[in-house]
Structures are given as structure tokens and as C-alpha cells.
Symmetry: C2
Subunit: 175 residues, 2 copies
Amino acid sequence: MTSPAAGKPIRTAITDEDDIDFAIIELFFFAYRDFTSDPDQILADYGFGRAHHRVLHFVNRRPGLTVAELLDVLKITKQSLARVLKQLIDTDHIVQLQGPRDRRQRELYPTAKGRALALALARPQSRRIRAALEDSGTTDRASIERFLEAMVNPELRAQIDIVPAQTSGKKNGDH
Amino acid sequence: MTSPAAGKPIRTAITDEDDIDFAIIELFFFAYRDFTSDPDQILADYGFGRAHHRVLHFVNRRPGLTVAELLDVLKITKQSLARVLKQLIDTDHIVQLQGPRDRRQRELYPTAKGRALALALARPQSRRIRAALEDSGTTDRASIERFLEAMVNPELRAQIDIVPAQTSGKKNGDH
DNA sequence: AAATTACGTCAACAGTACTGACATAATCAC
DNA sequence: GTGATTATGTCAGTACTGTTGACGTAATTT
């Protein structure tokens, strides 16, 4: 059962005593696991995966963003993006337009089909969030947003605020 | 640039107007992206990936859990687990003991080495959480925990509470 | 004119997940 | 006890998503 040189088993659970916040680390894992599982059934119907979902989401959120910008947001490589982007273009969920200023750039836009799919994918996730806010008795929605935003690397927070506005109470409307 | 039958580009950003909570959907993506990137450098030094991290985490959190229980927590298949678990056992981070009641079962325990690695991996994540709580001015830590827990599928919330306790309230030594 | 940039693509590979099948040992039900 | 079920391990094959490095083309910048 145990190999000869194996260390001895530790039978006590690791806890927060080591000044490590295992509680939230674990909650984050469970929450994200179930959060991302929501759209999986829908995606499977299209033969798509989570990578397609992410691309579709950001193209809908920031229509006209370039390939380079998308790579920067997703933090993946060109080759990883190429495959899923090509599929989304071939299936007419996304179209590319030549950049107006710089004709080397490809601005990415959703089609009506792509927008509809993005909405369908977001719907169950949004329902989950809404229910969680209610079930947890959260009165101050902005506090959740502030926490999540603070979890993001400071130098990357700029990516978040690129979006239109109307996030929470006011949020963008004033800074 | 656009194929003949391509749909027309939609140039307006998708927003919360559709009653979809894109703000938190997106924040969750960014937060988790950076949260999971913390341990990557350490893992790379060992030739491990995120799957190893998750296994190591839960074996340290619930020493003596069986393979079946671990599969249920991680929501992956036996074959997916087999490879990473084998590596962790071969490198003496985890040991298996025959189940006392049911000898078919394999109880999983961390070794001192495995515990040390789990702590090292959790440290930067915990730092990020602590900083986020402070930076966001969160006074009610429990409210964040309640929200995250409410994001988990109700039937799976039992998995969370298996752990020792001292989740919220005052934690342990009330620091 | 030369260097750089934005994008696309090719080849090769790694990590993590899946399904389905099969084997073994132990336990449970009758 | 015999048979069914359970817990685990393993084999084979596959899919998706990610990586690096190299190369080509068109457009822009210097």
C-alpha cells in the first residue's frame, strides 16, 4: 500500500491556523466550478467549448476589438485563439472587418446569431448570480463587485472598465 | 474580409439591459483567472499542473478521504484523476492507506512534503484574498463567504461543510 | 527602402478532460 | 457459500485547450 521510502501520513486537516485563508480559497473553487458548468450543455449542442464561450462573450461586450486586444484580455496565445475564432467565424457567429485606421487590424463583431448565443449562454449564469445575491442576503451588491475587482491583478484592472457602464449603482458613470 | 453569406456586424456592446448580469459574470472570470495564476510558477517547478494542485488541496483539507469522495468533490472522472494522483504518490506528496472498515477503499493522506507544498501553493492565493478584502474595504468578511457559497449548487453545498469549521464568524484565534 | 507591426498559419507537443472496457479484490445480499 | 455489487486500478482511444517556434503577407512606421 505504501512504498518503502514513503513519508508518514499526516492525519490532521490543514486549517486556517497557518494564516492561510483556505475557506475562501475553497469557496472560490466550488463557486467557479458550478458557475462555469452552467453553459456547458448549451455549448455542447453547438460543438463548442468554454474557449468559444469566452471569445463570444468578449466580442459581444467590446464589439470592434482587435485580435491583439482579445488575446490580451484572454491571456492566451495566438494559436489557441486561432482555432476557436475560426470556428466562430465559419459558423457565422462573429465577423471580421478591416480596421478603419489601420488596415492590418481585424475588428471583431458579433452577428445577430452570435449575439443570441452569447445571451443564451449568459442567461443561466446570470440567474445563478441573482439567486446567490438573494440567498446570501446581500444588500450591498457593490461590495461583491468591489471584492471581485480587487482580486484582479492591479495592472489588469483597466481591462474591466473598458466596458460601457451601467455596471452597478453608478460605478462608471462618475470616474 | 467577410464571407458572402455572413451576417451583418452588430456594433453595439451587449449590456445589462437584457436583464443579464454581465458585470459580475465578467468580474468572476477575471478574478478567477488571476487567482488561479498565482500558484502556476511554483507548480511548474515541480512539473505539476492545476489538477495536481486541486488534488493536493483537498487531500490536505480532508485527510483520509477516499478516491471516490475525491472524484465527487472534483467532479472529474477516475481516469482523469488517476494520472495526477499517481504522480503525487510517486513523488511522495500523498500516501494511500487501506480503509480500516472497508479494505477496498484507499484513504488518501498528505505526507509532510505534500503538506508543505499545499501550503506553499495556498500562500499567494491567500495573500491575494487578504489584499482584496482590504483594498475593497470589506468590513463584513462573512458576506463574501455567504455569496460564494450561494453560488454553489445547493445539492453540492454539503461538500463545503465537511471541513473542520471556523469558516467565518471569527475564524480561529480571532486575528 | 528597411524595420516593425498585425495577423494568419503550419507543425509539434503538453495537460487535462472524456468514454468505454476490463480486471481484481472486497463486501453485501440472499 | 454463491452471486451481485462496489471500490479501485488500468488500458486504449479521443477531444479540447493550451503551449512554443517558425514563417509568410500585407500594411504601417521610421
